[in-house]
């Protein structure tokens, strides 16, 4: 039993964090100028009296804390309510947006980690200046070139000039662009870690055994780098919802990011909160998973 207590503890801590995020979001949303009634009023030309009525019917006249607990009570029961602006169940909106973001995030995650790992391994084992430059270049690209910029360029080159990729519905370009960005963020760290890993004493032992560089890399170096790759992967994954946001907007992909942004601008509180809750829970889950995997693959953690 006591073996599981730490896991339980970690989960509880994660949950507390998710709750914290939701509470902070709630209050941030409430201090924003304007609410959904303003939006509806602006669009539908409601008089001030009508707006006041609407606010009462939405319960916005109650104390903020009461509103929050009311929302939380429903959310705990799995009921995220209805979008005030579109009068549709929030759950439906999330359900239709989630697959897009998940596909985008996982795709670009795989591309990013594979590219970073591949390039780092190649640069470490081949000692080529060109590859070193590629590592640095990718790193600087990801720092200095905003993804939306790369996105526009990509559309023009690949969709308009070359006509290789269809613009509509194609996730290829956004996945590649976010993937490049992800790769750039971690490639240098992976490279440095590998550079340290190849200097480790047990790698020297492996060389003393007369093993081939290939076998040394795969059997003796990569496992050492695995934990940091895992941790970095966790970081990349947690950054992905934000990372996909601009791509979703640029490529008109109806994912969680654009759903959230639209909802923030429309002051559609139930949608904002539900989306943030889902994202926060996903992040907590990812972090817990990464932590668990870390323990699993690195025997030294439990030493």
């Amino acid at each position: 039993m006591s073996r599981w207590l730490p896991v339980l503890f970690a989960l509880l801590a994660g949950l507390a964090r998710a709750v914290g995020i939701v509470v902070v979001t709630w209050f941030l949303c409430r201090v924003m100028p304007g609410d959904v009634v303003d939006v509806l009023g602006l669009e539908g030309g409601l008089s001030e009296a009508q707006q006041a009525d609407l606010r009462v019917s939405l319960g916005y006249d109650r104390p903020i804390v009461v509103q929050f607990f009311d929302w939380a009570q429903h959310a705990l029961a799995g009921d995220f309510g209805r979008s005030v602006r579109f009068d549709r169940p929030v759950a439906d909106m999330l359900a239709s947006a989630a697959p897009v973001t998940i596909e985008l995030a996982l795709g670009s995650f795989v591309v990013g980690v594979a590219l970073a790992l591949g390039l780092a391994i190649a640069a470490t084992s081949m000692k080529s200046r060109l590859l070193e430059a590629a590592v640095d270049g990718l790193n600087i690209w990801s720092i200095a070139v905003p993804t939306f910029c790369a996105g526009v360029l990509g559309i023009i080159v690949f969709s308009l000039w070359l006509g290789w990729l269809p613009v509509i519905g194609s996730l290829i370009l956004p996945i590649i662009i976010i993937g490049l960005d992800n790769a750039g963020q971690i490639v240098k760290l992976v490279r440095e870690d590998l550079a340290e890993a190849v200097m480790l004493p047990h790698v020297r032992t492996a060389r003393a055994k007369g093993l081939s560089p290939w076998r040394i890399a795969v059997v003796h170096v990569l496992p050492v780098a695995a934990p940091i790759v895992l941790v970095l992967s966790g970081l990349v994954l947690s950054g992905l919802v934000a990372g996909t946001l601009t791509m979703e907007i640029l490529f008109g992909l109806p994912g969680i990011g654009s759903l959230m942004l639209n909802a923030v601008h429309g002051r559609d509180l139930p949608v904002v909160l539900a989306a943030v809750t889902v994202v926060a829970v996903a992040l907590v889950a990812i972090n817990t998973l990464v932590d668990a995997l870390h323990r699993l693959i690195d025997p030294r953690v439990n030493r």
Partner: protein, 304 residues
């Protein structure tokens, strides 16, 4: 090798061509920012509606943007706001992440736990979303952007600093200082901070350009700085719609940003290395690139 020779060697590599170029680049950018009013008689807001998205000419060396504004002038003036926003954002991230973080660590376990719970919270909110929420809540403008940037990047700094602090605090010299009656604050100021400088410099070289780029993402989302205060980020965001018609308008700020990022990263690396007395002298220069583990390999050879 004598220490003196090592220092000479280190000094020699300080003016290595790459470092020199990086140094010159940063100085040029700083001068451009400082000298923008002298360097150009135009305002970065001056429009020429007859010459929109125009290519480079003698009058407009880097062409004009979609409102017929001179790209070069905007680049010069933009450097000011960009650097100020980036630097203040970075400073805030450091103040929250490193400053408050370290104080919380020093103050005791409880404050450390509390503060890092806050940091965790910020970290768990996607940075862009946090920026959007904050700026919408605070209203747009330069100050909210800086706050959003500082908050978004503070967890990164905080986590790095906490790890580095944990590494340093386990050292024997910390225990030695404690045995002389040195309190936590004394240890922090005299022992840990000086050893964190390298880490902080590296982080600074990463966070500053990322602040600048994030500002451009916010501009792209319509939440950046005021249109009256051009930044490179806003220039990129504005010009991204006209990549084909006016590639110069987007290339100029993007290249400027790449140059700044590269230069900062090179200088950060160099500075960190210079600031580390153990690296500067004790190791053969050709091994100085490698990690501390390299010293383990060459412990024999290196001991002089």
């Amino acid at each position: 090798m004598s220490p003196k020779a090592g220092i000479r060697r280190a000094a020699g590599s300080f003016v290595a061509p790459g470092t020199l170029v990086a140094l010159v680049a940063v100085i040029v950018i700083l001068l451009a920012a400082a000298g923008a009013p002298i360097l150009s008689d135009q305002s970065p807001l001056d429009q020429d509606l007859t010459a929109m998205n125009g290519g480079p000419t003698a009058e407009h060396l880097l062409g004009t943007d979609n409102l017929g504004r001179d790209v070069l002038v905007r680049l010069l003036w933009g450097a000011r706001t960009t650097l100020v926003v980036g630097a203040l954002g970075t400073a805030l991230a450091f103040a929250l992440g490193a400053g408050v973080g370290l104080m919380a660590i020093v103050a005791g376990r409880l404050t450390e736990m509390l503060w890092f719970a806050v940091i965790d919270l910020i970290r768990a909110l996607p940075a862009t979303l946090l920026g959007v929420l904050l700026i919408v809540a605070l209203g747009s403008g330069t100050v909210p952007v800086i706050i959003a940037l500082g908050l978004s990047f503070s967890p990164l700094v905080a986590l790095v600093v906490r790890t580095a602090h944990a590494r340093e605090v386990a050292r024997d010299y910390v225990a030695a200082a404690a045995s002389f009656g040195g309190g936590r604050l004394h240890v922090l100021v005299h022992h840990i901070l000086p050893n964190l400088i390298g880490t902080l410099v590296t982080q600074g070289a990463i966070v500053l350009p990322r602040c600048i780029v994030t500002e451009s993402v916010l501009s792209f989302l319509g939440l950046g700085s005021s249109p009256d205060e051009p930044t490179w980020g806003r220039m990129i965001a504005d010009a991204s719609r006209f990549i084909e018609q006016a590639p110069h308008a987007i290339l100029a700020p993007v290249i400027a940003l790449i140059v700044l990022t590269t230069a900062l990263s090179v200088l950060g690396d160099q500075l960190r290395r210079r600031l580390d007395p153990t690296r500067a002298a004790a190791m053969p220069a050709d091994l100085a690139e490698a990690s501390p583990i390299a010293t383990a390999w060459t412990a024999e050879g290196a001991e002089s």
